[in-house]
């Protein structure tokens, strides 16, 4: 028997469900909607959108919805993972404290920051000043360096022991690498790269929203029946928590089991890529160049503007594919996702795969000679013009 079907007498063939279906599973064939079950995930988006109640789910499909497997009430508190690199806290930790504070106040529970590595006294203090009620600091020299094995193992053990209801980490190279392992160990849900988080107070649930399908849709995701509810959070989207002098909090210093600190990977060396001022993921200002630059030498223009604004240099995939600039500068779906305060796109058309990597920037400036370029749809300030004239002029005006 089918799991989901269209009641043909009721279907008006309006096509609303076709538009709503995130999985492209519905087609209108001879004025009636037809659902391709091999593509359908039973998300029910179509059922909810249909005005004529023409889409039905079988009892079997309803029964396929998951049931609680743990005592949900045993889990309390909001945790954030305070990522550090070489002993320096990443600013994503402060952003997580910002959103974590709101969530924990809504739930009326404590906010805990989890910190790994030795010699982190100052960082622990900073986390308290910025809103952590408690810092769980695993003070082990092995944890100064990131390894998937040790980080996942130690984090899993802490979570099993203390049972937080929510665990957040930055959607950074580190967070998106080891947090999925933690979720798999705990067999719980994890939502990647969230741009919005809220609490449904009635149900005591974390409401997680993220872009998917190349940014064409936003999805709101829940983890109703397992704990903790876990999410990675896009860097630079959430407001950083402010430091408050004299704020009190508890710093709990912990040790890990020696066997939990073992890692199968060994770090041979780290090669920092300093060539273009700062890295784009942490930058507050990014100036990006695309195919419109025409040739590699013209990236000098982009660098100059970036320098004046103390920003980093980004690029479209077209520019990277041409070999004009290394891949580590690529912004977009197959590159890096960035969310700076200011993003300036020069000679970039604004393909959806580029937009998804930068559309959550606060201010977007587009410089493009084609007035129809889609980049203008997301631009706070759009300049229709030749970048070879506008960019140098802008550099002069900003300097002057």
């Amino acid at each position: 028997m089918a799991l989901i079907w269209v009641i043909e007498d009721k279907c008006t063939g309006c096509g609303l469900c076709v538009k709503k279906c995130p999985f492209g599973a519905i087609e209108i064939v001879e004025k009636v909607a037809v659902i391709d079950e091999s593509k359908c995930t039973l998300c029910k988006a179509c059922v909810e959108t249909c005005r004529s109640e023409a889409i039905a789910l079988s009892p079997e499909a309803e029964a396929m919805q998951e049931k609680p497997s743990v005592d949900l009430n045993a889990y309390r508190g909001v945790w954030i993972f305070a990522e550090q690199r070489n002993g320096r806290l990443s600013s994503v930790a402060y952003e997580l404290l910002g959103v974590g504070r709101t969530l924990s106040d809504d739930l009326d529970v404590a906010l805990t920051a989890v910190l790994f590595g030795s010699g982190m006294e100052e960082a622990a203090g900073a986390l308290v000043a910025r809103g952590a009620d408690r810092v769980l600091w695993v003070d082990e020299p092995e944890l100064r360096t990131f390894h998937d094995d040790s980080y996942a193992q130690v984090f899993e053990e802490l979570i099993r022991e203390e049972k937080p209801e929510i665990v957040l980490a930055g959607a950074t190279a580190v967070g998106r690498s080891f947090i999925p392992k933690v979720a798999a160990k705990l067999e719980t849900g994890l939502t990647a790269d969230c741009t919005e988080l809220a609490i449904d107070r009635e149900k005591r649930l974390l409401v997680q929203t993220r872009p998917a399908f190349g940014g064409n849709i936003m999805a709101t995701i829940l983890c109703p029946n397992r704990r903790p509810q876990m999410a990675t959070v896009r860097h630079k989207v959430m407001q950083e928590a402010e430091a408050l002098e004299g704020r009190k909090g508890e710093i709990v210093r912990r040790k890990a089991k020696p066997e939990s600190l073992l890692s199968r990977t060994s770090l041979i060396e780290f090669i920092e890529e300093l060539e273009e001022t700062i890295n784009i993921v942490d930058a507050d200002v990014i100036v990006s160049g695309g195919r419109g630059l025409g040739k590699p030498e013209n990236f000098a223009l982009i660098r100059e503007l970036a320098l004046v604004l103390e920003g980093a240099v980004g690029a479209s995939r077209a520019a990277v594919d041409e070999g004009w600039i290394p891949y580590s500068h690529q912004v977009g779906q197959t590159g890096k996702t960035v969310s700076p305060k200011l993003y300036i796109a020069c000679g970039i058309s604004g393909a959806i795969q580029h937009l998804v990597g930068m559309r959550s920037s606060d201010v977007i400036v587009a410089i493009n000679k084609d007035p129809e370029a889609p980049i203008f749809d997301v631009a706070t300030f759009g300049i229709v013009g030749d970048l070879f004239e506008v960019v140098p002029a802008l550099v002069r005006k900003l300097k002057g």
């Binding site: 988006a45 979720a183 942490d282 013009g385």
Partner: protein, 239 residues
């Protein structure tokens, strides 16, 4: 060496090529046997045929209604079961992320399920052999050189290689090849750990992103628009 490559057929298959092709770099260095693995609807077979045309040795399709609706946890569980059924493997390659869901979670979760070491964001394989692999991992501020024992799983970024072209021989083989299709039962998954039932996360709502409010167009001579933009950026505190 036995290498398994995990691919996903996504709407608009333009990119499948890159995912399925990530094995070439390694294959060209070592005598190896490459199996491409996918889980998806029966029509994902097309992606596997494409992979065969590029020269992979074996392909496996896992397809079953019971798996529909699986989130990353359930998907990773089923993929791990499928790979375990393939048997001996030294290296598993996954793309950094599938371009529809964009989660980047399935690779690390598969590694965890299989209990093998894992490195994400690999941009280069420096060396493989003698029971270990040395790779470059792209980080936000540079890259790390990392070594780990095999068997292992890596997720690779676009920079890993240039896809090779399909060969005529490959295309012919792709056309004729019988593609094995395994069911949920074949790979031995527990029924309550896959599909919607086995998926802790649930999609509650799907909506279009809010358009960013219509911006301001600055038009005129370059000097003039640059002046106006510079003023605005100054007011906003960027200078």
């Amino acid at each position: 060496m036995n290498i398994v490559v995990c691919i996903k057929q996504v709407p608009g298959t333009a990119e499948v090529r890159i995912h399925s092709e990530t094995h070439t770099l390694i294959r060209d260095g070592v005598e190896s046997m490459v199996t491409v693995f996918t889980m998806g609807p029966p029509q994902a077979e097309a992606a596997l045929r494409e992979a065969v045309s590029y020269g992979v040795d074996e392909v496996v399709l896992v397809s079953d209604r019971a798996l529909v609706g699986s989130d990353t946890l359930a998907t990773a569980y089923a993929i791990a079961k499928g790979i375990a059924k393939i048997g001996a493997y030294d290296l598993i390659l996954c793309g950094k992320q599938a371009i529809d869901g964009d989660t980047a979670q399935v690779g690390p979760e598969v590694a965890e399920r299989l209990g093998i070491p894992f490195v994400a964001w690999v941009r280069k394989v420096e060396e493989v052999g003698d029971g270990k692999i040395r790779v470059q991992r792209m980080m936000d501020d540079g890259y790390e050189v990392i070594e780990m024992p095999l068997p292992a799983l890596i997720t690779v970024v676009k920079e890993i290689n240039e896809p090779r072209l399909a060969s005529l021989k490959g295309k012919l083989r792709a056309k004729k090849l019988e593609i094995p299709m395994w069911s949920a039962e074949d790979i031995g998954v527990e029924e309550d750990q896959v599909g919607l039932k086995g998926s802790p996360t649930q999609v509650m709502r799907i909506f279009s992103p809010e358009p960013r409010g219509a911006g301001e167009r600055l038009e005129g001579e370059a000097e003039e628009v640059a002046q106006r933009l510079a003023e605005r950026l100054k007011v906003m505190g960027f200078v």
